[in-house]
Symmetry: D4
Subunit: 176 residues, 8 copies
Amino acid sequence: MSDQQPVVGIVMGSDSDWPVMEGAADALAELGVAVEVDVVSAHRMPTEMIEYGRTASDLGLRVIVAGAGGAAHLPGMLASVTPLPVIGVPVPLRHLDGMDSLLSIVQMPAGVPVATVSVGGARNAGLLAARILGAGTDAEALALRERMVAFQAELGDVARAKGEKLRASRARRTGF
Amino acid sequence: MSDQQPVVGIVMGSDSDWPVMEGAADALAELGVAVEVDVVSAHRMPTEMIEYGRTASDLGLRVIVAGAGGAAHLPGMLASVTPLPVIGVPVPLRHLDGMDSLLSIVQMPAGVPVATVSVGGARNAGLLAARILGAGTDAEALALRERMVAFQAELGDVARAKGEKLRASRARRTGF
Amino acid sequence: MSDQQPVVGIVMGSDSDWPVMEGAADALAELGVAVEVDVVSAHRMPTEMIEYGRTASDLGLRVIVAGAGGAAHLPGMLASVTPLPVIGVPVPLRHLDGMDSLLSIVQMPAGVPVATVSVGGARNAGLLAARILGAGTDAEALALRERMVAFQAELGDVARAKGEKLRASRARRTGF
Amino acid sequence: MSDQQPVVGIVMGSDSDWPVMEGAADALAELGVAVEVDVVSAHRMPTEMIEYGRTASDLGLRVIVAGAGGAAHLPGMLASVTPLPVIGVPVPLRHLDGMDSLLSIVQMPAGVPVATVSVGGARNAGLLAARILGAGTDAEALALRERMVAFQAELGDVARAKGEKLRASRARRTGF
Amino acid sequence: MSDQQPVVGIVMGSDSDWPVMEGAADALAELGVAVEVDVVSAHRMPTEMIEYGRTASDLGLRVIVAGAGGAAHLPGMLASVTPLPVIGVPVPLRHLDGMDSLLSIVQMPAGVPVATVSVGGARNAGLLAARILGAGTDAEALALRERMVAFQAELGDVARAKGEKLRASRARRTGF
Amino acid sequence: MSDQQPVVGIVMGSDSDWPVMEGAADALAELGVAVEVDVVSAHRMPTEMIEYGRTASDLGLRVIVAGAGGAAHLPGMLASVTPLPVIGVPVPLRHLDGMDSLLSIVQMPAGVPVATVSVGGARNAGLLAARILGAGTDAEALALRERMVAFQAELGDVARAKGEKLRASRARRTGF
Amino acid sequence: MSDQQPVVGIVMGSDSDWPVMEGAADALAELGVAVEVDVVSAHRMPTEMIEYGRTASDLGLRVIVAGAGGAAHLPGMLASVTPLPVIGVPVPLRHLDGMDSLLSIVQMPAGVPVATVSVGGARNAGLLAARILGAGTDAEALALRERMVAFQAELGDVARAKGEKLRASRARRTGF
Amino acid sequence: MSDQQPVVGIVMGSDSDWPVMEGAADALAELGVAVEVDVVSAHRMPTEMIEYGRTASDLGLRVIVAGAGGAAHLPGMLASVTPLPVIGVPVPLRHLDGMDSLLSIVQMPAGVPVATVSVGGARNAGLLAARILGAGTDAEALALRERMVAFQAELGDVARAKGEKLRASRARRTGF
């Protein structure tokens, strides 16, 4: 993966968001999508943040995943300076359980959308990025779409196995 | 537009959601993206709903925009049966101001993402669909990405004109 | 109990919900009602989920208890494909304290009801299933209704005993 | 319907709740279920309220539907004195949009369940009562369950017709 | 204190509420007011609960303090059957942080007030009961009112001492 | 009523609160309790506000009813300077539906209680003041307590009449 | 006022915010503080927005008042590029009653504060700007501080007059 | 710093708020601003609290930072008796996660603003006080404004270093 040109940029306001945001990187690694990861703070390095968004498309990125907490401005600000799809991950902080992060990211004004996932839902942000890349028309996109279909089938297999295990443990307990 | 193969499917749980969801269709029409529109209720026609999601990719759709209100299950259920990116629009109902719709759509479990936009944010759902299509690698994608850049520039022009008008009206009032 | 035909199906989106959902199974076991337990994920195994709901009545189930968390779609989706009463248990996740689960389950659109209990209230879901079975007209139903009356009397006895103990401990402390 | 023994009691704290609660009566009338309707206020006529609950089963009722708003105690108090299933309808008041009504009804302590429906969801309360009656084992129950299956099929037909109308109106507009 | 006729009844739905409710008993003990304490569950022993409220005034109680959590019906139900002032303490449960308890207690319909204090605010419930008794016209009431004035003065003394200590610790640290 | 020494002071932060607060004055007038009414703003006339609270008891008031909206500080500040019971009425403002008013009033720190009623619940504040006065030991208190008992009986009569009317209207409609 | 160098910049995301934000301009006009007003959208003209913040101090502004709604990023983004105090006004939108605007503005990360006022509280934003200017050390600051003292005295006079009027209207009604 | 006349007063309702409020003192110490710290409880020492606010300006303070939790009245009450800018810090208590504190502080009525920062955001309160002092016109103000610019540059440096570290750790892991 590492010698590929990254097509997804995963950015966050602080490295303290990394334990949450790592889920996005992991999901994309599992699906063979090359990513770059960086700290790009809307409030602490606004110029670089604007620059990051403005150049993302030209530098080869095709999707941006941005995580932030509290008054979470990073995803929306990036979306305002790039034509690329931006996925926002509401990172929960110590208070308010991520509700502030969620509303700050999802309630964007008409004109500038952010594709918001659940509170702390970085893994889903990665999977959404993969679906977006898989919505393209070239061979790689189709291959990724196939991988997503397989991935969804595996989710079902795991769920079915859990059901089997649960039924078995109850059968043992009740003496079958 | 109308003779193109639709690449975005815009669906909703009831035609009463149409006044909200129309914003998605309009945004995509402005950008020259062919869409299809339908009522696909998760709770009233579950079989067709599953079928819609399962066949969407094969029938040529590349993005699904789904709006629903209250216990809004349509976007998430479609996401579970398609590898395509699904954009969810929380439609506000008479009570709770769309907060139930928002949480029912955005808080998806790991494995099945929905790209959620703001309460009633159908226009942004359309724009997000366009960004997703524009993230592709073919000529049409690049053209759409260019249109999005132009669209964003126009947003700025309109905002600047509003500022000019506001400054002018105040200048008149205070006697300049 | 174990050689009876199950009349209540207890299902959940993941086996991680079992520590919560076990309360429903226990309550029904105490009242002598035969249950089956399974993992049926709306988002990870949608086809089986639809199938589970659609065949439940024919296979002899008379009530379904479904637990799910976050964007909790399982109870509502099952209710859309069965004529049986479906009881929904909002399972609290790590964030938002179950408010998302509650609203995703209870705010169903007109036409498809889910009988919702409290956040984490699986024991009450089991008791509600028993009340529903006890609302029937056959001898078994009447017997179950009697057991419920006795169960409620015991609740009172336990509460009264707690009051006695509290009064006694205070009397000792203040020297009576 | 009117010469049948009522099997569902629909009660509310005040006649001002009737415009909401009428939906429950209408739904049950459509399905041929005999109901009685009354004002039974937990806070203004507590003795009769307790009496109503305590005698409901003996007087032939099999399900109680109770609507109340604000600090809504009626459904839970009735559930504490009857072994019958009690369905609670959170009636929205002038402030807080029914959130107080919902939490006051759904968050019952272990031992005494209330089957809660959506804010203002009286129609669904009626349908849920019908599902409960249809979960019985006698011929009438099976007939009611069949009617519910038919009712659900009609919901699908209506939804499909709405979809057709929406597609047609768009086709006209875009010149097909 | 213990040989006095109790004038405040402190009741709660379960002895698990006692660690919270003890604060009310302690505050009243500090002020020399005789109390009785009991478990009176609205949902598990409704008849005794109604009886408790109905006879409270005749048995010499002058204020009732009632604590409950979740769908907290005890304070409001007692208020419906007694002319005495009822003070409600919202006991926080495992989920929703007491917001359900608060709304279930404070949002009473016109006609039946409950004097609600903060989430977990049992100590304040005791102090409020003392203020209510101190609002009377007899010598004991006036004496209690004086004790409340003294108590409030002590609150100020404690707060002032804390300020002094804080200033001193900072002065030491910064070298004065 | 008007030549009696007022025993309840009804105050509010602005005369715009009067349409809500009038309910408290009306309820007390119905019960024959003499009141005084005034605007006492915590934020616009803090000195008089403190003075009002500090002298209330000496001037013959026995209960204070205080209404305020938003960051509602009046009830709590008065409670801090009087030993009298203070009843707080959360007045709903244009935004947030009174939730800010409620929390600002009810969440008082240990030591200084405010007896909080529902959002906009001024009538109940008046009734609670009457219950508090009726909790006294003199003849007037006992008479007021009796009036409260009678008042509660009338509430029941009104509710019963509403039930009768509702039953009658339905009987007519269904042809009895 | 108009020939003075503006010292407060009042900006907003759209001219649709002007009916709310006008209150800030009016308050400052009443106090004789020169302001400039403009539309500066964080999402539609990010470059100018950054530029506005970055140059504000050099161009003579001393306080910035910024209003925005929904995912309201303007105040926080300006605060990240200026050392001046930034006052944020949460503008309420059609849904969620301004709660999203409030949290998006107030919950700023450590390092970059925004002085937040109430939902729709633009008048208070203007008054806060005046207090900030009045906290300076020069003659103008002291004069402004004096004007603020006088303004606060007038608030008291108005409140007192309202109380007088309310008392008078009640006296008339009750026959004095 | 300690021999300077304090220009910022940092006050709180109780010394239990100090672990939160210390952040304000630390931030101002880092920037060389002299502060005084005290416990000034609105509810436990209202007279001193009013006195503190009323004399603050004359005693040389130029900004007040006030922290409080729950029904948090301290910031607003101080703002009502001083013309100085008052910064409010919502201190989170055991329940409700600071939402009550936030609303009690920020939702001030027109006329009396409080500059509110995030839940627990005392460090930002200190930084905001510094920005306010830096908005003055004298040499010290300009120097402080310069320090704030430098401080903001350092925030960027720290963020950039975090990004570098994160990128490096990932490069190592993936074998570069």
